[in-house]
Symmetry: C2
């Protein structure tokens, strides 16, 4: 879809398109909701509202393009990571770091994906499945198995691991109420994010390692 | 609030009140949304819609009463657990088991709490804080510290731990889309729940333990 949009783009390039995506992202973060109107988005992006239809054919297309923007680079890095000649422990650490940073940058990710698939429309569901969920689960399966074979990971069910990781990582970044109550802030600061990244990676890594595996706490 | 409602209840007892709560819970689980009307709830409960106003003074009261029903017993058990003469490892296992089972029974919990606090109304926020969030965080703090002092837990930040646990536990039970996609089911079966409970407790416990701590995998 992205390619196609690009082919149709006017000579002025992608800047209006990128501005619309960035405005959507910012507004969803600021307001802690996906309920943003197209005219609010156009106004924030300082572009003509008609361009939303030109580039994305409406809000659904815009939101999918945002998922593409936020997630696709990570998913393609992930498949190269899986094929790299690295020990399973390092692979898993790199992978977890990537997921945590994606949620830090885009705390609305889970909510966006839930909203896009809630109605069960097959075309939407199959996009999210093939572009996102299945590549992630596949990567988990391969890394967990190679670590088990290398004798450094316990036997871990990749599907249960998928749910655990996505939930544990998403939690602080998307839970505005608890964040406000416990931290007194509207957003996770860079400092808190760094502490959380270390905490999460240490907890999850030690959670899957066998005794004596060569892992140094971050 | 519950007590007060009870005092006002007619001689027929609480059964209509309980039916309304249970109908709300069931409908939210079945439809995977909090958007259920009062008349749908009354119809499912087979009671007169006017009783919602009688018992709860409207939907907000009904939803808070549901939080009370679902969460209050666990929170009060938690404070007795914290004071029990048990080793920190066992305390934490019992505590995690309680949280996991609460989400299994009531997968809408996080969403319900988010919805009730989204508008930032002080009375709602302070109820959720004092009845739920602060007791949980306090229990985490005490159990984590006693385990650290006993030399069995690593030094773990209770606030980061709170977010990790709530997110990791909530994940499978509330994420209908991924569940449907990965498991092919609308709800977590008893068998899958049991596997997930073991997986989560083992991962989180090993995640916080020091090397050589006396913990046997479930």
């Amino acid at each position: 879809m992205r390619k196609k949009d690009r082919q149709q783009a006017p000579p002025s390039g992608d800047s209006a398109r990128d501005k619309l995506l960035e405005a959507t992202s910012q507004l969803m973060i600021e307001r802690d909701t996906l309920d943003i109107t197209l005219s609010e988005i156009a106004e924030r992006a300082q572009v003509n509202a008609g361009l939303v239809h030109y580039y994305f054919r409406g809000k659904e297309g815009l939101l999918f393009a945002l998922i593409d923007r936020d997630v696709a680079p990570g998913v393609s890095e992930l498949s190269s990571l899986v094929n790299m000649d690295l020990p399973p422990i390092q692979k898993m650490v790199v992978h977890l770091t990537g997921i945590i940073r994606a949620y830090y940058r885009n705390p609305y990710l889970n909510r966006l994906i839930t909203a896009m698939t809630r109605d069960g429309r097959r075309d939407r569901v199959s996009r999210v499945l093939t572009e996102l969920l299945i590549p992630l689960l596949k990567a988990h399966t391969i890394i967990l198995e190679s670590g088990f074979e290398a004798g450094v990971f316990r036997k871990i069910d990749p599907m249960l691991f998928y749910f655990t990781v996505i939930g544990a990582v998403d939690s602080m970044y998307s839970n505005r109420f608890s964040l406000r109550a416990l931290v007194g802030a509207e957003r996770v600061s860079e400092e808190l994010h760094q502490a959380n990244e270390k905490h999460l990676i240490n907890l999850i890594m030690r959670g899957i390692l066998v005794d004596g595996a060569p892992y140094r706490l971050l």
